[in-house]
């Protein structure tokens, strides 16, 4: 174990690291400037538990109805050796896919251990990639591995990879509907970034066995229910842009050392559990420790990060908590109190605030003029 890993272990405390999945890795790209999030994710901190412990539980529950529908749709698409999926690929996307076989990599002869499944995935993909013709195999639940912050993470995607004209394609199955050719933009964006994680991991795996990046296509297949029915439909999506963002953010986590350097040596989020596992550390002390790592809160965090309510409370009184656009319109002045001080002339602007101050004073004058004494 090297020094960085030891340091991250100490920060996390006496619990096993929280494992990542494609969704959590995809979330890394949503606020790349946040050091708090980067350190916690690199250390494998259970953010949900930590946030609850300090009194700010996040609400990212999933309805059992949504989970049930998602599973039902996936098994429908994959039923009978992916018959439905093949029909889509051939008919809708006009891909010339020959007779295929189907390999489920859920287990290896009943063995479900992650390293064994990963080794098997590697072997099968290597064989497929090195064979001259299209091997014609659909791989279900391949177990991929990715380095996040210098730590190996297993990814168990609900996907199928297939090979066509010498390159692998990733298929992502989602249960949100495509109605008259249109789907919810946020959901599509989330699916695309998750697919990019798989493409990246698949490329990593093939690189390890000496096969170039081009062997995995940067176009993925998205399968969704069409209109209001359960019948699936498919679309091709380009994930190049998301791959770039993802690579940059993962590289940043690999350079976590720089972020750790500025943190105090003894920093830890350990909850000091007793012999029975009951935490004994004062929540206020844990909150103080979290506060030592700088966060970059924005309202968008509310949709993606388990620490959001903690960070929001911490960012109280700061203009960025009103939204990045508001922050910018206020001349990028950080504190609400300073904004108001500059606006009513009570605060003396610094050199870089001069222009913002002029704008704020004008805005305040206009508001007073229009609202009379109300404001």
């Amino acid at each position: 174990m090297n020094a960085v890993e030891a340091r991250l272990d100490r920060i996390r405390g006496r619990v096993a690291p929280k494992s990542h999945n494609a969704r959590t890795i995809a979330a890394l790209t949503s606020n790349p400037g946040c050091a708090r999030r980067a350190v916690m994710d690199a250390a494998g901190v259970d953010k949900q538990r930590l946030a609850s412990y300090v009194g700010f539980p996040a609400r990212f529950g999933q309805s059992q109805f949504a989970i049930g529908r998602g599973n039902a749709f996936e098994s429908q698409v994959k039923a009978n050796g992916c018959a439905e999926l093949l029909r889509l690929l051939r008919e809708q996307l006009a891909l010339a896919i020959p007779e295929v076989s189907y390999d489920n990599l859920d287990d290896v002869g009943g063995n479900t251990s992650l390293p064994v499944r990963h080794a098997r995935t590697r072997a099968l993909l290597a064989r497929a990639a090195s064979s001259a013709e299209d091997a014609g195999t659909l791989f279900d639940h391949p177990l991929l591995r990715l380095e996040v912050g210098g730590r190996p993470v297993y990814l168990e995607p609900d996907l199928i990879a297939f090979q066509l004209r010498g390159s692998f394609h990733v298929v992502e199955i989602k249960s949100f509907p495509v109605i008259d050719g249109q789907a919810d933009g946020d959901k599509v964006a989330a699916a695309v970034i998750q697919s990019a994680v798989y493409v990246h991991a698949l490329r990593g795996l093939l690189t390890e066995i000496g096969i170039g990046q081009h062997a995995v296509s940067d176009t993925v297949v998205l399968v969704c229910p069409e209109n209001f029915a359960n019948r699936p439909t498919a679309a091709l999506l380009d994930v190049r842009r998301q791959l770039t963002v993802l690579r940059r953010q993962l590289a940043r986590l690999d350079r976590i050392e720089a972020l750790l350097d500025v943190l105090p040596d003894g920093l830890t989020f350990d909850l000091e559990p007793d012999a029975g596992g009951v935490p004994r550390r004062a929540p206020a002390a844990v909150a103080d420790a979290i506060g030592l790592v700088e966060a970059r809160y924005a309202p968008e965090c509310l949709a993606s990060c388990e620490m959001c309510f903690f960070c929001r409370a911490e960012a109280r009184g700061r203009t960025v908590s009103l939204g990045r656009d508001v922050h910018d319109e206020l001349g990028a002045v950080d504190e609400v109190s300073i904004v108001l001080g500059l606006a009513d002339g009570a605060a003396e602007p610094s050199v870089e605030q001069a222009e913002a101050a002029e704008m704020l004073r004008a805005a305040a004058r206009l508001r007073r003029e229009c609202l009379g004494d109300v404001a």
Partner: protein
């Protein structure tokens, strides 16, 4: 977002309550709006679960789908909703009058009032659109026959949802957007999408600050989500067991009835807090004085309502799944023209909206310091009355010489910037006026701004803009796919799965 509005958000933070960002109401609030709060089943494509709908606070009808995955029950829900919504809409088709259309003394029919559907948030407006899409192609006869009101509901909901794209239209309003147009809270726009939190900032209960009220409103136990998405914890802990109980086979009718009542009660409890909030929101909006041009925009809504009523009466087809190229281009052109006109009208109606333009240099306001009301321009063939006035403004002045501007106080009079002198923070602007002063060579009394009068001018105009010219459908160029096939409703549309 402008600095004027952003500053209002900062003020809201420090004062602990939402701050006004308008001095008048920019929306028409109907005398009898129809409020709809809806919930859908998580994971499904717009599968209705429950709704509360009605045109008065005390007459909310509760509609519940006991088994949301059951197709027949979905259509039963759609039929029940259809009778309420279509009945409400048709109640506005009783009274019509004739209004002038165009300049040549032509007249057209217009209903004297129009329906207004009020929903909590944009997501519910999306629910309305998709419910319209899933019901408008159905038929009351043949295989898969549905209640005759269902396809009519679908067409009306589609009509209302499409109207929301028209800037300033008030036939379908989302409460969060309507409120956010008039108040700035001390939280972000993302958080403003929560109706309970937004109302907490605008009208906090006694003893709480807006921030405290908004924080309390985020607890889904006391403030269930305003829909259409439900709270996942409610789904897992309350809803799932109740739905299972309702669909348990082979049981006594009494126990079945108890299960259904339990489910209805649970869903009523989820909907009622939002239902009450909606009527409070309507009251808050009603209390604001309406802007001068709101009635004119509502007239356009009435025209649209009248037009679609006639389309339905004449047996017109349902709206197509997708617009053709020509229809889409023409629609976009019309929306753009409406957008420009709506922005100008809001600024004309409301000095606080105009303030945003004053800050960016598209308008300025100040005091008249000099006036030559009887100045005559004798350089041309005919002598013309062209008064000059000088306005001293402290606004950042960025309008070029020669530019035409208009004062919201005197929309019939045009002004041209002749010269600007003085410094940036106190500019003296000389304007030449034309029009709106009577026919004589001396200005009618009061028609020229007098010394000491406060006045503002803007480059925005609400004048007529000609519509773009587009080819006929039949002449759609090949770049746009050529002439589209004529839409014929198909059996596929009618029998489309809704599962």
């Amino acid at each position: 977002m402008s600095t004027v509005v952003a500053l209002a958000r900062a003020e809201a933070v420090s004062r602990g309550v939402a701050q006004p960002i308008s001095t008048v109401r920019h929306l028409h609030i109907a005398g009898r709006p129809l409020v709809l709060v809806a919930l859908t089943l998580a994971g499904e494509a717009n599968a209705p679960l429950a709704a509360m709908v009605g045109d008065a606070p005390e007459s909310g009808h509760l509609l519940v789908v006991n088994q949301p995955r059951n197709r027949d029950q979905r259509f039963a829900f759609a039929a029940e909703l259809a009778h309420i919504v279509v009945g409400y809409i048709e109640s506005f088709q009783a009274d019509a009058g004739m209004v002038r259309a165009g300049g040549r003394g032509e007249e057209r029919r217009r209903f004297t009032d129009a329906p207004q559907l009020f929903v909590p948030n944009p997501a519910t407006a999306g629910f309305v659109r998709l419910l319209g899409r899933s019901t408008r192609f159905r038929r009351p006869t043949g295989e898969y026959a549905v209640d005759p009101a269902v396809p009519v509901l679908g067409r009306w909901l589609t009509f209302l949802a499409e109207r929301t794209e028209v800037p300033g239209s008030c036939l379908l309003l989302a409460a969060t957007q309507a409120l956010a147009l008039h108040w700035a809270t001390g939280q972000s726009a993302v958080e403003d999408l929560n109706l309970a939190a937004l109302m907490g900032w605008i009208d906090p209960p006694a003893g709480l600050t807006g921030e405290q009220a908004a924080l309390a409103a985020e607890d889904p136990v006391t403030w269930p989500p305003a829909g259409p998405a439900t709270d996942p914890t409610f789904d897992n802990e309350v809803l799932a067991p109740l739905i299972t109980a309702c669909s348990r086979p082979h049981r006594s009718p009494e126990r079945q009835q108890v299960a259904v009542i339990n489910l209805r009660n649970a869903l009523r409890d989820q909907l009622t807090p939002t239902w009450k909030l909606m009527w409070r929101a309507i009251d808050l909006l009603r209390a604001l004085p309406a802007g001068a041009r709101v009635a004119g925009r509502w007239d356009s809504d009435k025209d649209a309502f009248t037009g679609y009523s006639e389309h339905l009466r004449d047996g017109g087809p349902p709206q197509p799944r997708r617009d053709s190229a020509v229809a889409a281009a023409s629609r976009l052109n019309s929306l753009e023209r409406t957008q420009a006109s709506y922005a100008a009208q809001r600024a004309f109606d409301d000095p606080l909206v105009l303030a945003q333009y004053r800050l960016t240099g598209e308008a300025f306001g100040g005091v008249v310091t000099a006036a030559e009301p009887d100045r005559v321009d004798a350089t041309g063939k005919r002598r013309k009355l062209r008064p000059l006035i000088t306005v001293l403004t402290h606004d950042p002045f960025r309008i070029d010489q020669g530019t035409a501007v208009i004062s919201p106080a005197r929309p019939g009079q045009s002004a041209r910037v002749v010269s600007v002198s003085g410094e940036a923070a106190a500019a003296s602007v000389v304007l030449e006026l034309a029009g709106g002063m009577g026919r004589a060579l001396t200005a009618a009394p009061g028609s020229v701004p007098a010394i000491g009068e406060r006045i503002s001018y803007t480059t925005l105009t609400d004048s007529y803009q000609p519509r773009g010219s587009f080819p006929d459908r039949a002449d759609t160029p090949w770049t746009h796919g050529g002439p589209p096939p004529v839409y014929v409703p198909t059996q596929d549309d009618v029998t489309e799965d809704w599962s």
